[in-house]
Point group: C2
Chain length 512, copies 2
């Protein structure tokens, strides 16, 4: 893998000086265009062996490029806010917005490599991480990002020589620590792990560029040239925008109806719960939820509740019955409307990542990341190719949440067209609910069938074993609210019980 970076690439000062001015000019022009046209972002990973010149390469990029559109993202020890979220959270929050270039000094590759070398990650575990990384990077590229991954390589001998040279110069001696010399000992292991991981993640959409690190001039020029070429190609491609070929086959396949029965048509919307039973059950379930939210085992977990449903399906009312059982300091309700300008400059899932709860906290999403495959699909706010890939992106997102200990529960609230109409009319009459109904609500009704199709596809493709959809018969609010509360309690309880027995539970029983 690294052979091409061991052949002794070198540039004379004259060769270097001849090439730099034109490169610098091209980089600056490209950066400015990228910024003005809000294209990209450009994600640059600078990886490689210690002492290979990663820091020096970044320094040269700062010298050549406009630092106003450039940022360097460094990842030291995770902060406590980061440790209480999925491991990818810190990278999501550091992603540069469209129009800008972010240099990652350290990235999502650092942890898998380190853990595999120390033996904390198995070979199979490493492969799983590689697979996850590929999907993450594919998502970035599909969202418009340019992902450039550099591995700056040194042979073992070159690494030793570099450390010695650094140490000899009083201005750079601080860069060499006892830790550096340890790196020489693990050199062979690092080569084995990194070459495997690089091979696994050397994809068409985000290929690795191996750069020989020995010669400062060669290394800098090579990295600069690759960035410039990628920017030029991105900007050229961007001018042919909108030419994305929709995956018409997939759409055609989805339209096949054999007997007209769907998960939605099979729902029994006539289910009801009389007021008296409702009140009794509600009280019990709220009490149970209140206890679960204060369970000591929840202190190292978090809960994400996702609510989707047609307009007037009763999401708000259901959410209120949940929040009533919890301390306001423990939850946040996140109403999802049109994305803000800063959110539009990021991958579509970014605005949900930013609201992920810390340990012992609950995030309740009133509309969710499924907007991509519902409203955005039906209204044509994104291209068919965009919403078609969103299913697996969403599955990956929820998998990452679950893998990090977040409990995710998602609900679809289904009402019949007649019941929805009845509620719209009712809302118009009750003054203090009037504000809830808009012209858009009426318009959405016209697309009822298209929405039903989108919902069925969504359930089929994103109801996973880890995070199944709970379809809620919502013509009767009592029934719906109790079903939702019960599901939340059961899922939370099951997840906590999987962690270990409830502390004090045995003791309590004994007392009685």
């Amino acid at each position: 893998m690294f052979e091409s970076a061991e052949i002794g690439h070198r540039l004379t000062k004259a060769q270097y000086k001849e090439q730099v001015p034109a490169l610098r000019e091209a980089l600056l022009e490209a950066q400015a265009t990228l910024f003005v046209e809000k294209k990209g972002p450009v994600v640059v990973l600078i990886s490689g062996e210690d002492g290979a010149g990663k820091g020096e390469t970044i320094d040269v990029l700062y010298e050549w490029m406009d630092p106003r559109y450039l940022s360097t993202l460094a990842f030291e020890e995770p902060s406590d806010e980061e440790r209480e979220r999925p491991s990818m959270w810190r990278y999501w929050r550091a992603l540069p917005p469209k129009g800008r270039l972010g240099i990652f000094a350290g990235s999502w590759y650092s942890d898998p490599i380190r853990l595999r070398i120390s033996g904390e990650l198995s070979q199979m575990g490493l492969d799983a991480r590689a697979e996850q990384i590929n999907r993450f990077e594919a998502m970035l590229v599909n969202e418009g990002a340019v992902v450039l991954k550099f591995w700056i390589h040194l042979t073992k001998e070159a690494q030793r020589a570099r450390f010695e040279a650094l140490q000899a110069d009083p201005l750079t001696a601080w860069r060499v620590t006892p830790w550096s010399w340890d790196r020489l000992k693990t050199y062979d292991k690092l080569q084995k792990v990194s070459s495997h991981l690089l091979r696994m993640t050397n994809t068409a959409w985000a290929p690795w560029v191996i750069v020989e690190g020995v010669d400062d001039r060669y290394r800098a020029l090579k990295v600069g040239q690759v960035i410039q070429a990628a920017l030029a190609s991105k900007l050229a491609a961007a001018t042919q925008a909108g030419k994305k070929k929709p995956a018409t086959e997939a759409a055609a396949m989805a339209r096949v109806e054999t007997d007209g029965r769907t998960v939605l048509s099979e729902m029994d919307l006539s289910r009801t719960l009389p007021d008296k039973e409702y009140k009794a059950e509600l009280g019990l379930l709220q009490g149970r939820l209140s206890e679960l939210a204060r369970d000591p085992r929840f202190k190292s977990r978090a809960l994400v509740l996702a609510f989707e449903g047609a307009d007037a399906a009763g999401k708000g009312g259901a959410i209120r019955r949940i929040t009533a059982a919890m301390d306001a300091r423990q939850f946040q309700v996140i109403p999802v409307a049109a994305p803000t300008e800063e959110e539009r400059a990021q991958p579509h899932l970014w605005r949900f990542w930013r609201h992920l709860p810390r340990h012992n906290h609950v995030a309740i999403f009133d509309r969710t990341w499924y907007g991509r495959v519902l409203v955005e699909r039906v209204e044509g706010f994104c291209s068919p190719a965009d919403w078609q890939r969103a299913y697996s992106e969403i599955n990956d997102f929820e998998h990452e949440l679950v893998a990090s200990g977040v409990i995710v529960v998602k609900f679809w609230l289904q009402v019949s067209q007649e019941e929805q109409l009845r509620r719209f009319k009712e809302r118009e009459q009750i003054a203090f609910k009037r504000f809830k109904i808009t012209a858009e609500d009426w318009r959405n009704r016209d697309k009822w069938d298209a929405y039903q199709q989108a919902i069925c596809d969504m359930v089929e493709r994103t109801s996973t074993g880890e995070v199944p959809w709970t379809l809620v018969e919502s013509n009767d609010k009592n029934y719906a609210r109790v079903k939702i509360l019960r599901t939340v309690c059961e899922r939370l309880e099951a997840a906590l019980d999987a962690t270990g027995p409830a502390p004090g539970k045995a003791a309590k029983k004994r007392k009685r």
Copy 2:
């Protein structure tokens, strides 16, 4: 102070039921209008004695209002990211944007009260904090926020009774901890400290509302009614927008010129530094800065560099000479352009607070919070009243930074009108600098005199002992860059030396 909240306010169930529906309707209408018109935000502080029903009050607000435009901000132990910033940072990052209502369970009052009770804060210290709070809240209100501060009060006897009642009910017993009973012991101290602090911060723009906490119905209704009244008044006032009276006297006073001499006219722009000396000095200063950035004493400090100057004054080039001396992982360059949509929904200083560096990090602002009193003033982007109050808001901001250990250094780069013209023309000719010049740059030249006046006012009003302006003669780039680098080194060194002797410095000297 609390007498009015000890008279035994009570509401019957019938009285309560009669009033709630209309209140709820009014609250929902007001919330919706606030959101649509992007007015506010509304900042609600719920404070008071433990057990007074703060949590219950918040719960009722959630029951009455639309949780989509509501959030509760709780402040537990500060996270490490928060501990490494000025103490107000966590409140700034939690501020609700325009159109929304944020309930602060815990606020900027919590720390001063706690510290005064424990004796860690002197009476004078408390008064200083009160003064600071008043200025902070005035800024919020001037920026369009409604600040509602509730103190829910219980007598000592009522507090004891409340704890006993909570403990007796298995559903609420968890709320009572050994800590709660301690509160009874410090009750008198709390009364003394809080009544003093409340009195000091009972301002016209953000008055306290004392609410008797004993009766659940009275407490909730009172808080709800006050919020509703404030919202109604805000929305009514907002319709008379733009009627802010500019402080014309101040503007007239500023225009008085007695001898035409200003800090700018007195600068000797003919200063130069020959290339040879420049190179030598540059190398030395960069080496010194590089060492200072790695000084162990910097690990608990942070550095903020603020650059202002006319177009083409050389801010970018100067910044590059500084970043070249540091590790890219340690600094961020923050180019300040027009605020984003999320930033426009916040007080004008918010977008700078969000970029404050952690310990051991450097934030370099290319244009700054002084835009308010420069471009926004001259171009009329904000009202005279807005930029006139900005001077003291900015002084407060910088004071908070300094008080928390941040080293702040700010530069004004002055070029003559002739030199600027020369650079504009030069830029148009050198291809890879071309992107830097825009139509706006040419336009700004027309307002040269207005800008000079604004700069003089800015220097006069914001050059404080803690954070003085450094005016840089920038017609010669060599001279300017060396002056800036030297100033950064000197200020950094002085600040670190004030912390204690450089570790290892003595040792080093001994070695020699």
